[in-house]
Amino acid sequence: MSGHHNSQLRNPLILGDKTYHQISEDIAKPVEGKAGKLWWIAFCISATTALWGVGCMAYTIGTGIGAWGLNRTVDWAWDITNFVWWVGIGHAGTLISAVLLLLRQKWRMAVNRSAEAMTIFAVMMAAVFPFLHMGRIWLAYFVFPLPNQFGSLWVNFNSPLLWDVFAISTYFTVSLVFWYIGLIPDFAMIRDRAKVQANKVRETIYRVLSFGWSGRAKDWQRFEEVSLVLAGLATPLVFSVHSIVSMDFATSVVPGWHTTIFPPYFVAGAIFSGFAMVLTLLLVARKVLHLEEYITVQHVELMNIVIMLTGSIVGVAYITELFMAWYSGVEYEQYAFLNRATGPYWWSYASMMTCNVVSPQLMWFKKLRTNLAFTFFLSIIVNIGMWFERFVIIVTSIHRDFMPSAWSMFHPSFIDVGVFVGTIGIFMTFFLLFTRFFPVLAQAELKSIVKSVGSQYSDKSNKQHH
């Protein structure tokens, strides 16, 4: 060989010595081909669950919030738990696409598209709950500062729920635009392929979707600029949205909610659960859509490290909360945490602690964090744990607060479960449709990292020589 030096440190991000064309082929395949049996089975299950959920939502709107298990004392439970859980899940997408873009983490390219799609769908699911939990959903427009004829009626800018309205809607809009901008060159690729394949319908659809992308250098330059600008905009949102969501609790007087640690603790928790959800989805997708060479063990390991890190932050936050409750010397605060750990909902606290604090520590072992089956299992555990975290914060704090005379228990109703499972169904339905009609990997970006490792060339040239 010549004096060319190959890096020993860097592993290739895409395996299998892909050519540009191969990448196009691999990524366009699910869109152009027919859906497999597995896809149809998954779709049918998801769509049925989704319909069930929609039915439960309609029943709630039709009869009243009494259809749920809420009561005089516990006025929020599964509704807001689900809301925070879904918003949290959404965070991984933005983190991967925006923060990692700014940090020039190229490995993100194989996962950002589906992670962002997940963000969009998760935020949509999250948005269901603030609306659905309203007693009078038909007056939901009251939360927007609209000019009106009722006199001087205006929204209450002191209310964290109003901050939520702005935070979530901004977040959703930016995420959607960011995601869509990224999709444009890929849509254009499918359009161009359809033209060659003489598939008129597909060509028309993707022509519209691709906004007349021509692939000229100017297009690419603008694309890169917009992506950077949007990444810059989206990055603070990663931190602000969940901070504001956490203020729904932090600004209250309820012991167990009124905690200044909430914003960072919620953001860490959000990233923690978001990465877990990305792993859950991608581990399945790479198998079903045959993307093993794009989403590699290396990706999984890197995401597992993020989970381990954020999981540890969350664990520290839990312990800090306990310490602060004791240190505050406030009777109500102390009891809130004692009750969390040892009261009637001890099992939810125990589930939360096991799933969120203990289990991510297993990722210190390289063997475990590179084991796909284990990762899949753990990603689900983490999401269960994070759901419990929100449940613990919301329900165990308010079910026994200041006045013992008003203490009560919360029991979910059939409808509560239906609505939650239904949103998972809707989410999965959307995601499955996404895998069929959208390029699941950002192929245009991926093509920029095909030639990332020198050894590929030497291997290739070696082959040619022999």
Partner: protein, 1045 residues
């Protein structure tokens, strides 16, 4: 360059002819062919141009859409000729009197547009002094009960008054002719005109006998007074004059004899006055009653030992006096100690004490009389010279009647205000009734008795009828109708008059009576009409000349053999079983008269906080032994136990009550009513416990000493509004101290928590936690509405809860929803038990300690705390900041307001409310079939008339809460404005403050420094709930003081 060039559009513009100028002003210079498009011609022509077609299409679609949006037509019928006294939107108030054979109350009735909607106490009455109780407050809803009979009935079929009148008259005449016995069976009658009507009826049919029977009998007391004093009446009690009150099983605050009067007097006796004096209250009892939970010392005592304890007390006092002791059954050592301590206290307060007993045993009551005589209480706390007429029933007469009925010697029974088929202890009455040829009931319901009768002649509700009452010697009052009878019913008195051949209506009859009798007893007014109108307006008429001075100790008759009495008492309390059963009446439902009233069914029992059920109350220790669930909560099911006593058994859920004496159980009367009395009774469970009662020594005893209890496999879910029973060591909730401590330091038990603050505020010292504040204060100009709640006066009776329900259209949600913790009461009364474990108990680990603190004390020294909690109207309100749409906001006069129209139901306010007083409309309670049976006041076409038109009925999805009766505040403010004056203290009363018999609640403007509430705000006992959170409530509390001296 400065000017732009102007180009002419044509030669016309250049010439600028007048024709052109005229044309220029028109928007369309060309003629618009309107006629061609919309005219006849175009319609007839077969051609429709495309544009026209689209126009027509657009117009028709829009027109059809708009037409479809038409709102449903609701018909309202305005007054054609407006009645003089009715102004729509302005309430009329009428003075009246409530008496249902149990409770007497002088009331004023609020009517709107001719509908009675609210009942309040009449302050002019010297008997009830403006107080009410839960049952009186709720009685307005019973008026609109659609299960009331709408016609007279003959042989269970609807009939008409003509047929019924003719039949009954004929039969009565025939029976009287054949010398058949006719009996009028009534509950206590204290109406002079009713008595006269009965007398007239007796004149017409000479074989008539009047028997008086009370569902819950006081015959023993009456008989005792007959023996001791020669008159068969109850005395007038004066609890307010007592410094030491001792009760043996008498729940005198909510049920015994005349509870409303007693509650008022007790309120006075327990009010901390300038002398720093509070009456001491000692209670010996089996079940934990409302009276018992207010006592300073409470000695749980078995039923069988209650009477013996009275004899022991007699002996203890006799020893002090140096007179002879009586033969006495031994009592438990703990009770004996109590009796001795009580004797000390009574002896020290001779002439200022009062001993009462709930026993219906004449012998026991004789000894109670003897004790009170020894203590020289006659003339000060007991007024035997004047009589209370509200209880007159005779058990002996009733027993004789039942015997006669069964032997077939009674030909006719007419029943008024009595329901013995339900409340008589044995089935003998029902069997006897079948043998009676003519049975007539005046009941307005198809109840247990009336459904067995040949004829039902439905009586009118008291709000539809005329009547007069004489509840106490010298005190008279009138009942006047506030609405025309809703149904084809007729007052019982009028029926009696008719059948006696007097066609006069009852109104003229009473008037004539009063003209002949009452009018002459006064000399102020010369014309009878003036006198009559005055009496109607006041509702009461007091004949001072009839009221004898209370002074002068009445000695029991010398003939009374006190030793014999003691022997009889000893005998009566023999024959003990495994368990002893004490029957009791609930504060809400009483003897079951009002079982179809949903407000009372959903009224939380002051002690157990359970709604919609009766149950067996048990000592938790006994329950542990029997392996029954002792956790009373929303999730825990209760075990059903089979209770057998006196040859009768029922299966009821067992409920733990900490103050219950071990080895005893309690069951409430008034449940298990016939399903035919209405929809509410239909959905209520529970069993009739009257069958446990039995005759002992000729009087009905509401106890059984031979009860056995069996655990069954069945479990039952009860509904309760409070599932945690102790304060968990949070002493800042109900702050209390003892009278002794208070005298030493008026701030005893009320020291503010001190906190360290940041150096720039005050580096040197700590601040009270309610002074460390980050918020800006509201400006308080004008009125500042405040409410004070004196925890020392509150007896927990819950009259305020029903008053609030009635005033504010609070929905009833039913048992299932209460079980889901969704009751809607704007005002609740928290009941806490003391716990044996405190936070300071370091023997236990922290987890075990808190778990132990959740358990109420098992000791006899158990203490009970009541605390009414409604919206605290915080001036720094946590709810106000969190509402995204500003639906809850603060008023300039200190109220926390809810704008229902603006509320979208996020419920954040309720989560953030530290007092948990906000109530959410989970369903459309006023229009959801699920609630039709429970919530007639908002759903039933009749019952809806009870709604207060000043308060909106809330739709689903809206948060609601106490508004401090803002509608009343506004009405008061407007009234003052109209009169161009400032608001006077007392002008405005909230519904709860009005209903309170003990004046525990004081409402007013604290910016008016002379107002009561402003003075109370400066009281050293004043504190705010959760003071350390500094929400600055407009509602404040005064500490509770126990007289433990």
């Amino acid at each position: 360059m400065s000017k732009t060039k102007h180009y002419w559009k044509g030669i016309e513009e250049k010439e600028n002819s007048p024709a052109f100028i005229k044309q220029k002003e028109k928007e369309f210079s060309d003629f618009i062919p309107v006629d061609e498009i919309f005219g006849k011609q175009s319609k007839n022509s077969s051609q429709t141009p495309r544009r026209d077609f689209l126009k027509f299409l657009g117009f028709s679609v829009t027109a059809a859409t708009i037409a479809a949006c038409e709102a449903p037509v609701q018909k309202t019928i305005p007054y054609v000729i407006k009645p003089e006294e009715i102004t729509p939107g302005v309430a009329n108030w009428y003075a009246s009197s409530f008496f249902d054979g149990t409770d007497y109350c002088s009331v004023i009735v609020k009517t709107r547009e001719g509908r009675p909607i609210k009942i309040e106490g009449n302050k002019l009455s010297k008997v009830t002094n403006g107080a009410t109780n839960a049952r009186v407050q709720a009685s307005v809803l019973s008026l609109y009960d659609s299960a009331r009979l709408k016609k007279p009935y003959k042989d269970k079929k609807e009939s008409s008054w003509e047929i019924v009148d003719k039949d009954i008259k004929d039969k009565l005449a025939a029976l009287a002719g054949s010398n058949g016995n006719i009996v009028i069976l009534t509950s206590s009658v204290c109406s002079p005109s009713t008595k006269k009507a009965i007398a007239d009826f007796t004149t017409k049919y000479p074989t008539v006998k009047h028997v008086t029977y009370d569902a819950v009998s006081y015959s023993g007391m009456l008989d005792a007074n007959q023996q001791c004093f020669g008159t068969r009446v109850l005395p007038v009690y004066h609890f307010e004059n007592a410094d030491c009150i001792v009760s043996f099983g008498a729940d005198f605050l909510t049920n015994w004899v005349a509870p409303i009067e007693h509650a008022v007097q007790y309120g006075k006796a327990r009010k901390l006055d300038s002398r720093n004096k509070v009456a001491q209250h000692i209670q010996f009892e089996t079940n934990l009653s409302v009276s018992g939970s207010n006592a300073d010392f409470r000695y749980p005592t078995k039923v069988s030992e209650l009477d013996a304890a009275i004899v022991c007390l007699y002996n203890a006092l006799a020893k002090k006096e140096g007179s002879a002791a009586l033969k006495c059954n031994p009592v438990e050592a703990k009770v004996m100690t109590g009796v001795e301590k009580t004797a000390e206290r009574l002896w020290a307060n001779r002439g200022k004490s009062l001993v009462v007993s709930g026993s219906n045993n004449a012998a026991t009551q004789c000894i109670v009389n003897a004790i009170n005589y020894k203590l020289a209480n006659y003339g000060t706390t007991i007024d035997m010279n004047n009589a209370s007429m509200v209880k007159q029933g005779s058990d002996a007469d009733m027993a004789q009647l039942v015997k006669d009925m069964n032997s077939g010697s009674v030909a006719a029974v007419l029943m008024y205000n009595a329901n013995p088929a339900y409340s008589y202890p044995t089935k003998d009455f029902e069997n006897g009734l079948k043998k009676v040829k003519l049975s007539v009931s005046f009941s307005d319901k198809m109840d247990e008795t009336s459904s067995l009768c040949n004829y039902i002649c439905p009586d009118t509700h008291f709000l539809e009828s005329w009547n007069d009452y004489n509840p106490q010697t010298g005190h008279y009052s009138l009942t006047q109708p506030t609405i025309r009878p809703l149904f084809n019913s007729r007052s019982a008195q009028e029926s009696l008059l008719k059948w006696s051949g007097n066609d006069q209506d009852y109104h003229s009859y009473i008037k004539a009576n009063w003209q002949a009798g009452m009018f002459g007893k006064q000399s102020m007014l010369v014309l009878f009409e003036d006198f009559w109108n005055r009496c109607l307006q006041d509702g009461v008429f007091i004949v001072e000349s009839e009221i004898k001075p209370a002074e002068g100790v009445v000695a029991p008759a010398a003939t009374m053999d006190i030793q014999a009495m003691a022997t009889q008492v000893a005998k009566a309390s023999e024959g003990k079983g495994k368990f002893e059963l004490a029957l009791y009446q609930k504060t809400g439902l009483g003897n079951g008269n009002h079982a179809n009233n949903p407000w009372l069914q959903e009224f939380p029992d002051p002690i157990t906080k359970i709604v919609w059920d009766n149950y067996v109350t048990m000592s938790p220790k006994d329950m542990d032994e029997m392996g029954l669930h002792t956790l009373l909560g929303q999730n825990e099911e209760t075990n059903v136990v089979k209770l057998t006593a006196n040859g009768f058994s029922v299966s009821l859920p067992a409920v733990p009550v900490p103050g219950q004496k071990e080895g005893t159980v309690g069951v409430a009367l008034g449940y298990g009513r016939s399903k035919s009395i209405g929809k509410v009774a239909e959905v209520t469970n529970g069993a009739n416990a009257f069958s446990f009662a039995s005759f002992v020594n000729g009087n009905i005893q509401y106890a059984a000493l031979n009860a056995t209890l069996e655990k069954t496999e069945a479990v039952y879910q009860i509904a309760t509004t409070q599932t945690s029973h102790t304060m968990m060591g949070r002493e800042e909730l109900v702050r209390e101290s003892t009278l002794e401590e208070y005298i030493k330091n008026p701030k005893a038990g009320n020291e503010p928590e001190m906190v360290s603050v940041s150096e720039d505020i005050d580096p040197s010292k700590k601040l009270p936690s309610n002074k460390a504040n980050l918020w800006e204060d509201h400006e308080r100009n004008g009125n500042f509405w405040n409410m004070s709640i004196d925890l020392n006066s509150c007896i927990g009776c819950g009259a305020c809860v029903i008053g609030c329900t009635s005033e504010n259209n609070v929905p009833v949600v039913g048992k299932d929803e209460v079980q889901r913790v969704r009751e809607m009461h704007w005002l609740r009364i928290d009941r806490y038990y003391s716990s044996d474990t405190t936070k300071e108990n370091k023997e236990l680990g922290v987890v075990a300690r808190y778990a132990a603190m959740e358990k109420p004390s098992m000791a006899d020294s158990l203490e009970v705390m009541f605390q009414p909690v409604m919206c605290q109207h915080c001036n720094h309100a946590p709810c106000e900041t969190v509402c995204p749409v500003a639906a809850t906001s603060h008023s300039s006069d200190g109220l926390n307001q809810m704008a229902y129209n603006r509320c979208i139901g996020t419920r954040y306010c309720a989560n953030n409310c530290p007092y948990k007083v906000r109530r959410f409309n989970w369903f459309n309670y006023n229009n959801n079939d699920k609630f039709a049976a429970f919530n007639p006041a908002q759903q039933d076409e009749f019952s809806r008339m009870v709604l207060n038109p000043d308060v909106v009925v809330r739709s689903r999805g809206v948060m609601e809460k106490c508004s401090m009766c803002v509608q009343r505040i506004q009405a008061g403010v407007l009234e003052a404005k109209k009169q161009m004056r400032k608001i006077k203290d007392g002008d405005i009363q909230t519904a709860c403050a009005q209903a309170c018999p003990t004046n525990a609640i004081t409402f007013g403007n604290s910016n008016d420094k002379t107002s009561d509430v402003a003075m109370l705000k400066e009281d050293p006992r004043q504190y705010n709930l959760l003071d350390s959170y500094d929400t600055q409530p407009s509602v404040f509390y005064l500490t509770k003081l126990r007289n433990k001296a």
